[in-house]
Each structure stands twice: as C-alpha cells, then as structure tokens.
Amino acid sequence: MAVKHRAREGASRDLLYQMLRIRRFEERCVELYSGEKIRGFMHLYIGEEAVAAGVCHALTPDDAVVSTYREHGHALVRDVPATAIMAEMYGKAAGCSRGRGGSMHIFDAPHRFYGGNAIVGGGLPLAVGLALADRFQGRNRVTACFFGDGAVAEGEFHECLNLAALWRLPVLFACENNLYAMGTALARSHAETDLALRAASYDVVAWPVDGMDVSAVADSASRAAESIRAGAGPHFLELRTYRFRAHSMYDPDRYRDKAEIEQWKKRDPINALITRMKAAQEIDDDGLSVLEKEISAEIDKAIAFAEQAPVEPVEDLARFVYSDTPRAGGTRPMGAVEAAP
C-alpha cells in the first residue's frame, strides 16, 4: 500500500499518509485498551511518527528493521499488515506473532521485521549480527535499528557501536531521542547529552536531526542509507523527537511539565507537514479527507479481522519453544554446500 502511494504521489504525500496511519491506528489502540481488548504493556508512538516514516522512507523492502517495544509505527510503515498487528495485540492466532508477543513483540519475517524487543538495548546486537550475515553472504542491504535515548546508557549500546564500526557493518542506528527514558529526563541520566557526539566517538558517522520534521528525517536517513550501501560502515542518527503520551498505558506521567508537553505539541510533525503541503498546494482538505477515509477503512478492517480471529488452541501452548522441524525457517541442511575457498 505504501509503495502504491509512493509511485502515485510525491514523497510528501506518502510521508503524510504513513504518519497519519500510525497516529490513527494508535488512537484506536487507546480505545481498544480502555475496552480491555488490548492488554499488557502498550507504548504509544504518538508525536514521534516522523521518525518511523522518515527513516523507513530510506529503506528498500530488502532491508531489515530491528525495533523496540514502541514499535507499532515502525511495523506499519514497513508494511507489516495492520490486520496482523491488531490481531497480535488482541492475542489472536492470526497475529503476526501468533498471540505470543502482544504489543511489545511484533515480528514479521516476510517484511524482515525482527521485532519488538522489550529489553532496552536488546535489539542492537541483533542488528549488528544481521548486518554481519549480509556481509558474509555478499548482500548489499541495510539493517535499521531503532532504540531510545535511554538505551544509550546500556553497555550493549557501546559494545555494539564499537563492533559495528570496527567491522564497518551496514547498520543504520536510529536513536529516537524523545528526551525521556520512562520518567527519567535525558539530562538526569546522561552526563553528555549530545548523543550524536557520543556515537561519533566510536568512529561512527553520526549527526542530529530534527525528528519533528519528517522531510529532514527522510533526507538524513536517505543520505545515511546511501552512504552505508556504498560501504562507509555504520551510521548513527540522533532523531530529536518527543512522545506526546505517557511512557505506557500504566504511566501516570507525573514527571513532566504539562506546559512542556503542550509546547512540543505545537511542533506536531503531522500538522507541520500538512501546513507545508497546503502552502505548496500539494494537498487540500479534500485530499486530506481522502487519506483519512482510506486509513480509517484500513483500521476498521484490522479491528474487524482481530475481533473475529480465533485464538491459538491451548494445546499449542508449547509450540515454537523448539523448531517444528530440524530445518525450519528455510535453513539449508548443514554440509550441503562446500564452504567457499
């Protein structure tokens, strides 16, 4: 669907469409959470949509994405079907992770979406390894890895940046700096708050980007991805953004000034793009309502699908602890091909 838009319209329209999809999808998720259709921890991306839309704009369908528990947006933009995401949050067998994962653990092999990881920093080593496999197998692909400002404090971040730089691996580190790690403000958890500077100290090409400006994000990500594909090794983008909602549905949000939140809402990336596009006569209210209708239909369909989808039979509880067959996942039998000399 995203591809269709890309072909039909200009980039701005596609970026707007993707951001709106994420926003509307999550707004419905809030209602469904209140209605107890969705349970567990749910982390919303509202306010940060320009990051997913902009970064993924630079990726091809062959590229991989590794994400966090705040991953609905990344999954949607990577074309993981909304039906499968919604069914996952409903805990249904038709969910992309067969109801095992829920909101925090969206996985989708066909779109090379390597998950929703709920251990802060836990995805970074996977991204390094995926890129290493591409290197071994001579494929020119990018692995984009999303994580928050909080993750920069974890040892795994530092180990991974060094490793990726040392081996010049094709990883795009996309740091979503929303200024908070749960209730802890950036300056209260980092002595040096210039995260791009920290990444650069590992000899990784790094720069900060206005994460509320989707065009700026798309431009930076495209430049970074191009450079990675050309063999320049890992890149790091510090995407300066803000989450408009609480950390999760459990979070009473006591630690932020309401005025600060309102201030950031004035920079809403969706409104900003609409204003710009209207000024450039790239879209009008009719055009907008066409987009909204299309999105709303997609979400209605996803919810209807999730509602009627069956749950996994309890007898299958212990499935997928080990592979169903010794060669699951299309792995070649060992020893079938001689190692390259």
Partner: protein, 325 residues
C-alpha cells in the same frame, strides 16, 4: 498506609522509609525510583522525603548500578538496589554472581558485600516473555546469596531490615501480582531464615512461595471441602532452604506437592524434591508431585499465559492426584 490497613506496595515502601530513617548508610538506587516513584510505585514519595542523594535515579545501566551497589557496600554503605524486573536483572548477572556472591570467599573472608537487591518477578499480567519470568530459583542456585520471596504483608514490611543487617548479599523477589494485596499486617519483626506454615493439615503438604502462596491457600480451602486437609508451607527463604520445616511437615502428612511458577527442569522444585527424597524418603506414602510453569517463554495471550502457570484449579487437581495415588 491507611488506618484500615495497608497494601503490599505500601508495606514495602514503609520498610524502605523506616530503614532510611534508622540508618543513614542506607540509600535506594535504581531506574525511576525517584521522580517516577518506582515502576511499580513502591518508592512513591521517598524522593521528596529523603532527597536525590539517597533516592537515586540511575540511567538504564543495570550492570553499572548493581555493580556500584556492590562497591558502595564494600565502601561501608548499606545500599538497597532496585531492579525493575528479574528479566532485566540478567544484564547485571555478572556483577551479582561474579562479584556480589563471590567476593567474600575469594578474598578469604576480607570483603563482605552487605547489599540488598529488590526486584519484581513473575507472570500473570500479560506482559509476555521478556517481562514475566520467574528466575529466582536460578539465583537460589548461587552460593553466597540469600534469596527471599515475601508473600505476605508482614514479610513485605518486615524482611527488609534483617536483610540490611545481613552481612552478605540478599536478593528480595516481589511477585508483581502481589503489590495490590491489602490487609492489616501483624506488627513485629520477621526472621529471614525460616519457612512458615500458613495453614495446617495432615493429608498433604503443599509447598509454595511468592506469587503462588495465595493460589495454594485458595486451593487448600477448596480441598477441605473434599475432606482433604492440606498443610501449606510458604518457603519465604529460597536460599538457604529451611529443610527442617519441610521435613517435619512431610513427617506429618507423608505426601507432598511443590507448586512453583518457575520452570520444572533444573529448578527449585527439583531441589526441594531431591532433599525430601534424601532426608524423608521413608516418610513418603506417594511420589512427590510438582506443579510448575509450562516449559515455554511466558506468552502474551491471556488464555495461553493462564495455561502456562499454576492456577487454583490445577493446584487442586495436582494435589488430589498426589493424595489418591
């Protein structure tokens, strides 16, 4: 704390508050313990009372701040380190096992580590596999650590102070489903060495701890309606295990079911069964039963998660089987 009673969460908070008032060496450190009030709201209000020096928010750096807790303990402080959940404690496993549990022995008795680490454990809230595991049995494998699992308001309130007095590292596991438990706790000190008998009976011993104690007591009540009188042991201390209380109970009932939200293989339940076989084999009238978590990473979907961990109905069925076998 209200006049009518308290919650497990408030009891824990009161215990921290009291410890910080009683000894200025005590401080609390961990992710979001301060401004946020603790990810499960245990430390709500403590920052305002004690200030940011003693209620220390840390970055997301489990290995560093747990290790720093060990260092501070070596340096004469009495840290309480909070890790949000046992799954995240794996990032600090090296510090806990290679340092905290080891330094006293490795230094020939010179460097003890008087440290308390608190963390949440357990399933039941649809948080899926990276937030729901019960790895306390794993920590109970490690010599040098004392492992506690408060399951009652008294223990939530009372276990912290003796843990701080302990010259060695103590890990306290708080089951996430217990925080809202409420009632009026009996006042007074508690020990951190013995198991407790929460219900007496002579037909079977049900051994549980932490999050499964309440379910096991409910099961025992239901079994009573079938004329099966179960004795319920709350282990409280997972290491070192209180063999005496267990063996005495087995000597009275001659039948045992161990209930554990952890996995069966290589587990605490396996350890308890072995000890009973070693120490009370001739007391047994039936094979020891074990009801553990299914051997899967805990899934998100409610029906799958429920099926994965012990429930009142499955405890009743398992106990019945041991009694009739």
């Amino acid at each position: 704390m209200s006049e009518t009673g308290t919650t497990y969460r408030e009891a824990m908070r009161e215990a921290i508050r009291e410890a910080m008032r009683r000894d200025e060496r005590v401080f609390l450190m961990g992710e979001d313990v301060g401004a946020y009030g603790g990810c499960f709201a245990v430390s709500l209000g403590l920052l305002e009372e004690f200030g940011p020096e003693r209620v220390r928010d840390t970055p997301l750096s489990e290995s560093a701040f747990v290790g720093a807790g060990i260092g501070a303990a070596l340096g004469g402080m009495r840290p309480i380190v909070e890790i949000m959940t046992v799954n995240f404690s794996l990032l600090a496993l090296d510090q806990i096992i290679n340092n905290a549990a080891t330094l006293l022995h490795m230094s020939g008795g010179q460097f003890g580590v008087p440290l308390v680490i608190r963390m949440t454990t357990g399933a039941g809230r649809q948080l899926a596999a990276q937030h729901s595991h019960s790895l306390e049995g794993w920590y109970a494998h490690i010599p040098g650590l004392r492992i506690l699992a408060p399951a009652t308001l008294e223990d939530a309130r009372g276990m912290l102070w003796p843990s701080l007095e302990d010259p060695d590292p103590v890990l306290i596991f708080e089951h996430g489903a217990l925080y809202a438990l409420s009632g009026v706790p009996r006042p007074g000190p508690v020990d951190i060495t013995r198991a407790a008998i929460r219900r007496s009976g002579e037909d079977i011993t049900l051994i549980a701890y932490g999050g499964t104690v309440g379910k096991t007591l409910s099961a025992a009540d239901a079994l009573a309606a079938e004329n099966i009188e179960a004795e319920v042991i709350d282990l409280r201390v997972l290491r070192p295990l209180d063999d005496v209380t267990i063996m005495r109970s087995v000597g009275r009932t001659h039948r045992v079911l161990v209930v554990d939200e952890g996995w069966r293989s290589g587990s605490l339940s396996a350890e308890i069964s072995s000890r009973i076989v070693e120490q009370a084999f001739y007391e047994l009238d039936a094979p020891i039963g074990r009801l553990c978590a299914a051997e899967v990473p805990i899934p998100y979907a409610r029906h799958l998660e429920e099926a994965a961990i012990p429930q009142v109905a499955t405890i009743i069925a398992a106990a019945r089987e041991v009694v009739t076998s």
